[in-house]
Symmetry: C2
Subunit: 248 residues, 2 copies
């Protein structure tokens, strides 16, 4: 893991990094409290949405609150084929099929699920390698780990959490059961799962089906009116308290 | 409103009262901070569940936390045909029909809805009279009002909130759309709505249908695994923050 830049504002240090992996260079960001003492401290891994990247406004805003209000470390990386990362032929084909179906009013769910499955096959080992490297850092350390991801971040998070025993709690949402049913049934950690009641991209029944599948004994579904991108701000407060309860 | 006894423990004053109304004497309890200064202060009205009463453990435990942690006033009354209140012939018939159906494995939902509708016709004007009287008290006053009720407390709360503009926010749940669809569609205040995912008494679809009906632009459904009576403790923390956000 190589750090490429470091800045600080409002008590939060932001470090860009890159990690060399078999799948190529993984670019990421790490946010920690300014002048953080040696760890271990709780670490939240944040998975961004489709078409977004590691520094998307929704990711950074949440990360900064987790750091400033809870003293956590937070990291985000560009998912495969997103942000600063290249796309290969397989990515291009899947994206092109998805766009065609969206444009022509075709059946999108299965095409989206295939794209998510393709990306998840790459991102699960990447997240595990990033986590290994982050936990080596003096100001992060091997503390409890949380995962937070909506939409694509949920689709890639579910198989990651199922594979990674270091993740102890997660806030997920805005995704249905199509991509990750088998992995969901292997997840047992506490979950907060967000559903937008009028989601134009994820059918309500698919969201409820995914919630149903998680094997966690503590899992709470939070549903709010509004479209895919309209999660109310008070859900961030709730996520903050959820992670504080389970990781602190 | 006549006070019949007063005790204090852990910083919370508990006063039993009775209010003479056209429907008879309404017995209730008021909890306030010890030595509360003159109001107005936020007031939470709590509706108990079926077969319970104003001092049921779940009611009192929640009331005491609202008072001790938020400085609110909290009141509960015995619903018609519950607690210290008499049952008339119509109540007895409805209860008897309900018990028969439960015992014989008959269709319970419609019988329960009829019982709830009968009680709601009585309890809505009663709650309004109790609220009038409480707001006259020096240590309560005419501050913002919240309502909190699960199960029967939700079935009776929905028509009350629809009828009473003084109620500004509510935590409801464990009830379906059968009793109160028309009233639900007239509610516009912020809501937190609790669903038990494995509720043996309220079908999941009926709960989701009631949540759907509320006209509130801010409404959040919280669903947790478990049976009717197994709401997790952290939902009380959430209710506390919800009322603090909307009434303080």
């Amino acid at each position: 893991m190589r750090f490429t830049s470091q800045t600080s504002s409002d008590g939060v240090t932001e470090q860009f990094f890159t990690l060399s992996f078999t799948s190529g260079e993984i670019p990421g960001v790490l946010w920690t409290p300014d002048g953080a003492a040696a760890g271990p401290r709780p670490l939240i891994l944040m998975g961004h949405g489709g078409g977004q990247h590691k520094k998307a406004p929704g990711i950074e805003a949440r990360a900064r609150r987790f750091v400033a209000e809870c003293g956590f470390a937070v990291a985000a990386v560009d998912a495969p084929a997103h942000g600063d990362r290249p796309r290969d032929e397989e990515h291009n084909q899947a994206i092109s099929e998805l766009r065609t179906r969206m444009r022509t009013g075709g059946e999108v769910t299965s095409a989206l699920a295939r794209f998510h499955t393709l990306l998840a096959g790459q991102s699960v080992p990447e997240w595990r390698a990033v986590l290994d490297a982050l936990q080596q850092l003096d100001h992060v350390g091997a503390g409890p780990v949380g995962y937070c991801g909506m939409s694509l971040g949920c689709a890639l998070g579910v198989p990651f959490i199922a594979a990674e025993p270091r993740v102890r709690a997660a806030v997920l949402g805005l995704n249905g059961a199509e991509t990750s049913a088998e992995a969901a049934a292997r997840i047992t950690v506490p979950l907060e799962f967000l559903v937008q009641w009028d989601d134009e991209m994820v059918p309500r029944t698919a969201s409820l089906a995914l919630f149903d599948l998680f094997a966690s004994t503590e899992k709470t579904l939070h549903a709010n009116p509004g479209k895919h991108a309209e999660i109310p701000m008070f859900e961030l407060d709730s996520a903050l308290r959820f992670f504080t309860r389970h990781l602190s």
